[in-house]
């Protein structure tokens, strides 16, 4: 094992990069240095996080690489970080996507490059920190600190309605998370502990659990987002710059799912049992309703945003099935969605950079001019639909297998949603890519350049890799998920 604080280094390396960037003077010539510094810091973080994966002990269900320091003298609040099978891939997802985001904004962010890179590096630190924390308050601090850079990213570099979108994003999420703060304090009062590890043992009376569950639900349901709390998402996605949408869809939505697994399932099992019908209903409504809404969209980004809500519906179904297939499926679906939706937003970014519009009607026949683009777009589109051989299939398949154990109505709902997802994605693809070029402005459009290849090809490879070798990802997380399921079943068997 590694005897130096690997997790802390991974958490704070981007922040150190940010501090260095703070002292680079920004002007026309040096903005390239800022970009390189940001890229190097994020790449370094990614490489270090790979070590995390390589050295990971698959046979250990609990936390590894633990670091623990007393932080507050007066109560049991520790700087306590570590990685288990659940958080490992969330961290990898964050560290993988951030360098791609930096690359994606290489040319199209022209104003305030320095602040932009600072926001992204700070964002990466808090994202990783959130997934790695084993102390609830630490988790909360990171969870809420995410709002600051994201607010700035949407608000400064976003589209026309960016101010509305950024406020909506911030206030919506804040409203959810402050209730979580109250829940955290109540938990601490009852147990005198803030350790996530310790609290996963059913310590609360049934009634307390119900209230705590609702408070956590308020926070995670907004974050993931579940219907009807999703309305901030289309606005935020559409107005955010490409890289902002990528991080938002790729990582920030996963915070909700991660929270459900860790807190609702892990700490409040009896309340979870009580609320499962609610979650299932909301998820099925989300899948069907948002898929239909997606079908009617005229803006590409908005369409993908609504498809995210639908995919997250599959995730919440999987999580609250609370069986092995369901949870593994939910995790796979989260990772897959993190890659696929990020890639789709990047693809939209590619044509947006060239044509400065996201209207579906504007495009058509891109395959004539951009064959390579059409190919990678197809891979991601199929990944989103869930074609066998791509990452999307594994997640959806496992969730449906798990759902059969629960109720066939849920299966019907989820399967209907998957069919609808094929409808809107294929329809989108047809309208943008196929056919002949009807719009004269598209006549001179160029295929993806080297920088865009560097961004999109690793994503395409990982989408296919995930589809063909799912065990590469399922093995490390299996035991950690089993632990949660066992705790859950013991608590509910009483």
């Amino acid at each position: 094992m590694i005897d130096w604080p690997l997790v802390s280094v991974i958490i704070f390396l981007p922040l150190i990069g940010a501090l260095i960037i703070l002292f680079i003077k920004e002007d026309e010539l040096t903005s390239i240095n800022i970009k390189w510094a940001a890229l190097l810091a994020t790449l370094g973080t990614f490489i270090l996080s790979l070590i995390l994966w390589l050295q990971f002990d698959y046979s250990n269900p609990s936390y590894q690489y633990e670091e623990k320091f007393r932080w507050f003298d007066d109560f049991n609040f520790f700087y306590h970080v570590g990685v288990d099978g659940i958080s490992l891939f969330m961290i990898l997802l964050s560290t993988f996507l951030t360098p791609l985001c930096i690359l994606a904004s290489w040319n199209n962010i022209k104003k305030r490059v320095k602040e932009y890179m600072l926001s992204f590096l700070f964002l990466e630190t808090v994202m990783i920190g959130m997934f790695a924390s084993i102390d609830i308050l630490l988790f909360y601090i990171f969870f809420e600190a995410v709002l600051i850079p994201m607010y700035l990213i949407i608000g400064i570099w976003g589209g026309n309605r960016r101010i509305y979108a950024s406020f909506k994003f911030f206030l919506y999420t804040l409203l959810g998370s402050v209730l979580m703060l109250i829940a955290i304090i109540v938990m601490y009062r009852n147990t005198s502990s803030m350790s996530i590890e310790f609290l996963q043992g059913n310590y609360f009376s049934y009634n307390t659990q119900l209230f705590l569950w609702l408070a956590f639900f308020a926070s995670f349901a907004v974050k993931i987002p579940m219907w009807p709390f999703h309305t901030w998402l289309p606005d935020a996605h559409v107005e955010a710059p490409t890289a902002g949408s990528v991080i938002l869809a790729g990582v920030l939505l996963k915070m909700g799912g991660y929270g459900f697994i860790r807190f609702s399932l892990g700490m409040l099992p009896e309340a979870t049992e009580f609320f499962i019908p609610l979650i299932m209903t909301l998820s099925i409504v989300a899948i069907v309703y948002t898929s239909l809404v997606a079908l009617a969209q005229t803006d590409i980004k908005k369409l993908i945003a609504y498809s995210s809500v639908a995919h997250m519906g599959i995730v919440t179904i999987g999580i609250f099935l609370v069986n092995q297939q369901g949870l593994e499926g939910a995790m796979m679906q989260m990772i897959s969605h993190g890659l696929v939706s990020a890639a789709l937003f990047l693809c939209v970014g590619v044509i947006y950079d060239r044509m400065h519009t996201r209207e579906i009607e504007f495009y058509g026949g891109l395959v004539q001019r951009m064959p390579l683009y059409a190919t990678v777009f197809m891979i991601f589109m199929l990944g989103s639909v869930g074609l066998p051989g791509t990452s999307g299939f594994i997640g959806e398949f496992l969730v449906i297998v798990g759902a059969f154990k629960f109720s066939s109505y849920v299966v019907i709902g989820a399967a209907f949603g998957i069919i609808l997802s094929a409808v809107y994605m294929l329809y989108l693809y047809k309208r943008i890519i196929f056919g002949t070029i009807t719009n004269n402005k598209l006549a001179d459009i160029l295929d993806i350049n080297t920088r865009e290849k560097i961004i999109l090809i690793p994503l395409a490879i990982s989408v296919i890799l995930l589809g063909i070798f799912p065990n590469l990802f399922l093995d490390p997380m299996r035991l950690s998920l089993e632990l949660i399921i066992t705790n859950y079943e013991i608590a509910n068997a009483k």
Binding site: D74, L137, Y151, I156, S166, F167, L174, I182, I185, R189
Partner: protein, 478 residues
């Protein structure tokens, strides 16, 4: 104990009183630069007073027939008030010179008012409490109206005076009722007398309510807050800074001591009042601030909101509550010092900044300043990882310890509403495109810069070493 003069904890106050007169004479006889020199001397005097308070005796010796009391809580708040006073004198020096308001009386008034505050915090007797409040208030009435040729300053002074006098009258009436029904003015004697009874009689309840109204006026809790926005707006910016930073500290300490010492056994009676004041202040502070275009009015409503949170900790009425209040007050002071240090150095077209919309484009012309303002605003909104979050966090811990779940949920909801107007300031600086750049001028003196950097440093870095402050505040006893 009397034979050892250093053991008399009253030394700092006596020293401050004498030194204030020395400052007055010093300013009077100085021909040139009277204002600047007197300010420097005042800062020096206050620093010495802090040392005297800090190294003061730990003995529980109550002097002057128990007119005043002595405890770690009192010392903490005294030092806080002194620090706030020093900071506000330093940051306002250049502003006064800039608007050509060079009366050397200003720092002297601040000194007298600080003396009043120290006595307020320490008072253990209804009479001494009233006199201390008056000493504090009278200096501030004059300070609010110090810019004699300005209508708004005079108006704010008169408003403050009339409403202040009214509240003092109510306070005094409440005192007389309490004295009439208990036969004593001393806090401990009142407490002892009341401990024989299970509930308060009607006269005492009236007395308690009257005193609460008077104190609510001093901390500017809703519905007795009406003076705050007007006085903040009318007074010169630097005086507003002093109002926002220092008197609040003393008034909060006073309301804590009044509730927790003489009436400690009648929690139910006063906590209802405080509960209402707290909820009303949080929500009115949050909602009314949204519509403000004047930064001083906005900060007035923001301070009303903060008072609401501090009162939550008072309703909690446990050791955690005292801890929470002291941490919250500390963070409140730091954030206000920092924001006023910036406001007093920002000029738009050679006028000191007043309209929030004038901050437009600041992030382009002064990236560091706008970053600092953003950090202060986020901290005030209670967003981690800044110190403001921990203030609120401890308040909610105290509230939940007392099972005040509804109050805590209302508190966090109000904090979401208030986040809106703090974010609006960031939005104006960063998101709005400004057409005319370079009209904002940021000039700050070296001393203010030190104060600003220090307070920003603590706001940002508190999270890395919280134990220092928390251990101190955990050991406080009322």
């Amino acid at each position: 104990m009397l034979n050892n003069i250093y053991n008399i904890f009253f030394i700092p106050e006596i020293f401050l009183a004498c030194s204030s007169f020395v400052c007055l004479l010093f300013g009077l006889f100085l021909k040139k630069n009277a204002f600047r020199q007197t300010s420097n001397l005042a800062v020096f005097v206050l620093l010495l007073t802090i040392l005297l308070v800090y190294y003061g005796s730990e003995s529980n010796f109550a002097n002057y027939k128990s007119l005043f009391s002595h405890s770690s809580f009192i010392n903490f708040f005294k030092i806080l008030a002194l620090l706030g006073s020093i900071a506000s004198i330093i940051i306002s020096k250049d502003y006064f010179l800039g608007i050509k308001l060079k009366n050397f009386e200003i720092p002297v008034l601040f000194l007298f008012s600080t003396l009043g505050m120290m006595l307020m915090i320490a008072s253990n007797n209804l009479m001494s409490m009233y006199l201390a409040i008056e000493l504090q208030s009278l200096s501030l009435y004059v300070a609010a109206a110090i810019k004699r040729d300005s209508i708004s300053s005079a108006e704010s002074g008169v408003k403050y005076f009339i409403l202040g006098a009214l509240s003092s009258g109510i306070l005094l009436y409440g005192f007389s009722l309490i004295y009439g029904f208990t036969g004593s003015m001393n806090f401990n004697d009142i407490s002892f007398y009341l401990s024989k009874y299970d509930n308060l009689n009607l006269g005492l309840i009236f007395g308690l309510v009257f005193v609460m109204v008077g104190l609510a006026f001093k901390v500017s809790a809703v519905p007795f807050h009406m003076w705050t926005p007007d006085v903040y707006e009318g007074a010169p910016n630097s005086i507003t800074g002093f109002f926002a930073i220092v008197p609040k500290i003393a008034a909060v300490a006073l309301i804590y001591r009044f509730c927790l010492v003489p009436f400690e056994n009648f929690y139910l009676e006063w906590s209802q009042i405080i509960l209402f004041l707290s909820i009303a202040s949080m929500f009115l502070g949050a909602i009314a601030a949204i519509a403000q275009s004047n930064i001083k009015r906005l900060l007035a409503y923001s301070s009303i909101g903060h008072i609401g949170y501090i009162l939550i900790a008072l309703v909690a009425s446990n050791d955690d509550g005292i801890k929470a209040a002291s941490i919250y007050m500390f963070s409140y002071m730091l954030m206000n010092v920092a924001i006023f240090a910036i406001l007093l150095s920002l000029k738009v077209k050679n006028e000191y900044l007043i309209n929030i919309s004038d901050l437009k484009g600041l992030s382009k012309s002064n990236p560091i300043v706008s970053l600092s303002i953003s950090i202060i605003m986020l901290s005030m909104a209670g967003i981690p990882p800044f110190i403001g979050f921990f203030g609120k966090f401890y308040v909610f811990i105290a509230a939940i310890e007392q099972e005040l779940y509804v109050l805590s949920v209302l508190g966090v909801l109000a904090s979401v509403i208030s986040a809106f107007y703090y974010l609006r300031i960031i939005k104006i600086m960063y998101f709005d495109e400004s057409k005319s750049e370079g009209i904002i001028n940021f000039q700050i003196s070296f001393q203010s810069k030190i104060i600003l950097s220090l307070s920003l440093f603590v706001i940002i870095c508190f999270i890395f070493y919280p134990s220092l402050l928390i251990n101190i505040s955990a050991s406080l006893t009322i």
